[in-house]
């Protein structure tokens, strides 16, 4: 493999007696969609939080594009081109869809110690935001308060906001959570369109989506990576079937 | 520096410290378990002091009056919880702050109506108003020693309750994770009332013992409440151990600092400058300490809440 864009080395995180990340080693290659799956409580969201800088690991190292980012804050990581979406929809409900995306554009358009000019009338923020909304299929809903959008649209907006920060690595925490069939298909298409241009770390419970999108898959159980490989390898892996796919199939 | 004065002031500091602990203990438990910011906790100190003063006068016995005041404060605490505070648990902290601010106005006025606008002075019985020599040549008031003893004893009792009883287990579970208590199938409502009323008793006890030292008056609890906040900030929300250590530290630093900081300053700067800056600095000392601790540990010395 060429030099990985994201390298996770010996990462550990526990809360009291609960081990969320257990000596995790993982390399993410440039341009791949790398899915991380695992049963509930496997530590997937905790991992995203540590990669994005929202949570400090107890031990271990995270490097991004050859640079050690273990001790960088979330905003500093964002400045390097790392973006995340949230499992629980984290949009700004009072603001319109366009405002939401414009805010994300603003985050990377220099400092925000600008006190006088209304942000609403600033084409430098509005135009790129509108373009991203169009691209993601929300162009017609730009002026709708985000609270009024449907659940699926809010999930799309969530992705739009992550994209608006111009990332090279996208950390997606269950983008399809709570979506209906049609909405999921749309989201898969959207992520497919990003493939190659961005590196994506994808956490998802929707196995159809995972196997349709992922170049490689890592299976996380109790904070440990029990297997990493191409989708067909994971499908064939006995340990994975026992630990994870079996129970998931039983649930479904 | 006079070693006898230092000894006496250390005892005063310890006495102030245990008093602060009694107030902070209830506050930190209520916050830890119910996630409630209760500004009216200071009112419970005041109510305890008034009840004790009245009961001592009625029974004509200092001890009996004090002892009867404890269950009386418990009842008041339980009533306040059931009538007023219960509705606030689900509200955000801003709402809690404002509503309990309203409660303070209410209680202060109730006290003025019931007991009159003039401060009360509750005397001490003869057997408590004397002095004993802690070491030869260093007399110290018996009553202040009693406060230290009672305070430490109550601290011990609180520790035993929290560390070794089922109630304590629930309190600890609640402080680190609110939902867990519900999952244990406990009647949350009565647990909350019990915890609050216990906190009220500790605060009331502080007020009772404070009565003979100062005057009993409307609003007497609030300055103490803010100091109890400082104690909790330093100790870590929800932590009894943190509250105890922080309370003793604050009591010592404040008492000893007020006496010795001007003296120390005089050794460094001119007398005139020391006389001006000394009291000013001493009055700010505990807050500076708080700020310094915050810089190092933003969640206090012993944060109970992990998540």
């Amino acid at each position: 493999m060429v030099d990985p864009v994201l390298r996770i080395h010996g990462l550990c995180k526990s809360f009291g007696n609960l081990i969320a990340t257990d000596d995790l080693h993982l390399d993410i290659a440039q341009g791949e969609i790398h899915a991380i799956i695992g049963p509930n409580g496997a530590g997937k969201t905790t991992l995203i939080a540590q990669l994005s800088g929202a949570l400090r690991p107890d031990k271990g190292q995270v490097s991004f594009a050859g640079r050690d980012i273990t001790h960088l804050s979330a905003p500093d990581r964002s400045a390097l081109g790392l973006a995340r979406s949230f499992q629980i929809t984290s949009i700004f409900p009072d603001f319109t869809a366009l405002d939401n995306v414009a805010l994300a554009v603003q985050a990377h358009a220099g400092h925000s110690f600008r006190f006088w000019r209304p942000a609403h009338e600033d084409p430098a923020l509005r135009q790129p935001a509108q373009q991203i909304l169009e691209r993601i299929g929300l162009g017609a809903r730009a002026d709708e308060p985000a609270a009024n959008l449907s659940h699926g649209e809010q999930r799309q907006l969530e992705i739009a906001m992550a994209l608006a920060t111009g990332p090279s690595l996208l950390l997606l925490d269950e983008p399809m959570a709570g979506m209906g069939r049609d909405e999921s298909v749309q989201m898969v298409a959207l992520l497919q369109s990003l493939k190659g241009r961005l590196t994506i770390v994808l956490i998802e419970h929707d196995m159809d989506a995972v196997f349709a999108l992922a170049d490689r898959i890592t299976v996380l159980v109790y904070g440990r990576a029990i297997a990493t490989g191409r989708p067909e390898e994971i499908r064939a892996n006995k340990a994975v079937r026992a630990a994870y796919l079996g129970t998931e199939a039983a649930d479904a | 520096m006079d070693p006898l004065l230092l000894l006496e002031q250390s005892f005063n500091g310890l006495q102030f410290g245990v008093m602060l602990f009694l107030i902070a203990a209830g506050l930190t438990l209520v916050f830890g378990v119910m996630d409630l910011v209760n500004l009216a906790h200071g009112s419970l100190v005041m109510i305890g002091a008034y009840l004790a003063t009245t009961l001592v006068a009625w029974t004509d016995s200092f001890l009996l009056g004090m002892i009867l005041a404890l269950p009386a404060t418990f009842v008041v605490g339980a009533l306040v919880e059931v009538v007023a505070l219960r509705t606030l648990y689900r509200r955000d902290h801003l709402d809690q702050v404002l509503a309990t601010f309203g409660l303070i106005l209410f209680f202060n006025e109730v006290v003025r109506i019931v007991w009159g606008p003039i401060s009360l002075y509750s005397g001490l019985p003869d057997y408590l108003s004397g002095h004993v020599e802690i070491i030869p040549g260093a007399p110290y008031p018996v009553f202040r020693l009693l406060i230290i003893a009672v305070g430490l004893a109550v601290a011990g009792i609180i520790y035993l309750i929290v560390a070794h009883t089922r109630l304590g287990m629930l309190i600890r579970a609640g402080a680190s994770n609110n939902e867990m208590v519900g999952a244990l199938g406990v009647n949350i409502k009565s647990l909350f009332t019990l915890v609050f009323a216990l906190g009220a008793v500790f605060a009331g006890l502080a007020g009772m013992m404070l009565g003979p030292l100062t005057s009993v008056e409307s609003g007497m609890g609030e300055p103490l409440l803010i100091l109890a906040f400082v104690v909790i900030i330093i100790g870590g929300i929800g932590s009894i151990r943190g509250a105890f250590i922080a309370a003793i530290v604050i009591g010592m630093v404040d008492t000893v600092g007020r006496i010795f900081l001007p003296v120390l300053l005089r050794a460094v700067v001119s007398d005139a400058a020391a006389d001006t800056a000394g009291p000013a600095l001493a009055s700010m000392l505990i807050y500076i300490l708080m700020a310094a601790i915050l810089v190092v540990r933003p969640r206090g010395l012993f944060p109970a809440r992990t998540g």
Partner: protein
């Protein structure tokens, strides 16, 4: 802020503007001073609302910055410098500096820690004021009215009133711009979801600290005016109950709106003024116990009065959209 809010703001300011001539016609000069007091505290409440309502920072020590502003005027006056052109900018600068220091430490924490720490810092300044024997300690000191040579004469109560009103109008206009600027968007969004803001790349701490400092500075202006109104400065101005009262004005008027805190200040102070008189009607000498009614009123406002006076007006006069907002924190009922 939408057009309706702008109209409500302009109407309110216009009503305040006609008070001095009306008071002169009806020969009731008392009202000019009383409403000057309302406007000054409104200024403090507006500054608190900027960080509380827009920024979600529950600062329980806002009276401290009034105190810094007032003491700056008082201390200059003590040393014989009555020039307002010197006093006022320095009062604002001093408050900003203290706000910067306190904010830098308080904003490292959040939630209930933040509430308690801001309260504790304000209490520290209160005790500092008491320990400053040179400036009157507990009893405070008198302060001559500031001199703005060639601009206004503050000894004339209606000129003083208009200066206060002008300050308030100017601050409202500045904040109106500020909350819609890039900076304002960051402040407002940080209130809703700070984690998201950080993930998007905003160093929210810096912006919140800047907002905190701006609010402290405006509050310092209010304190400087307050010292002039009373011609007196004492630690009492920093008493923790005043911080509570300023916060109540914000909630009473309507959090997260610009004119709300002004309405709230008027509502609160008029209640404080007239509640005792109303109580006297029912029972002799009941007025001195007005707090026994005021306390429950506050609790009722908190429990049932979301949106405050502003929402009341907005619903009645501009029925299409009320001032109700999405509450943060633990979720309102």
């Amino acid at each position: 802020m939408n057009n309706r809010q702008i109209w409500l703001t302009l109407i309110t300011l216009a009503l305040f503007a006609v008070v001095p001539p009306l008071a002169a016609i009806f020969d009731q000069p008392f009202y000019v001073d009383m409403l000057a007091r309302v406007l000054i505290l409104a200024l403090a409440a507006v500054s608190l609302d900027f960080i509380l309502g827009y920024g979600g920072m529950v600062s329980f020590g806002h009276a401290a910055y009034m105190g810094i502003g007032a003491y700056t005027v008082g201390i200059f006056s003590f040393y014989g410098i009555d020039n307002g052109f010197i006093q006022f900018p320095l009062a604002m600068a001093a408050s900003a500096l203290v706000g910067l220091i306190f904010g830098a430490m308080s904003l490292r924490t959040s939630g209930v820690y933040f509430i308690m720490i801001t309260l504790a810092f304000a209490q520290m300044l209160y005790f500092l004021g008491i320990s400053l024997e040179e400036f009157g300690g507990d009893d405070g000191m008198t302060a001559a009215r500031s001199e703005f040579a060639g601009l206004v004469d503050l000894n004339d109560s209606s000129q003083f009133y208009y200066l206060v009103l002008a300050c308030l109008a100017l601050v409202l206009f500045i904040l109106h711009r500020l909350v819609r600027s890039r900076f304002g968007m960051v402040i407002r969004a940080s209130r809703t979801n700070e984690k998201r803001m950080q993930a998007m790349g905003f160093h929210t701490y810096r912006y919140k600290l800047a907002g905190f400092t701006i609010a402290a500075s405006i509050c310092g202006l209010s304190g400087a005016l307050f010292a002039n109104l009373n011609e007196f400065v004492s630690p009492d101005i920093m008493h923790w109950t005043r911080s509570g009262e300023i916060m109540i004005m914000v909630i009473m008027g309507g959090m997260g709106t610009l004119i709300g805190p002004v309405l709230g200040a008027a509502g609160f102070l008029l209640l404080e003024e007239y509640l005792p008189q109303w109580m006297e009607i029912f029972m002799t000498n009941a007025g001195e116990h007005w707090a026994i009614i005021m306390g429950p009123i506050l609790i009722a406002i908190v429990l049932f009065g979301r949106g405050g006076i502003h929402a009341l007006f907005a619903r009645k006069w501009f029925p299409r959209r009320s001032g109700a907002r999405n509450g943060g924190g633990k979720g309102h009922g």
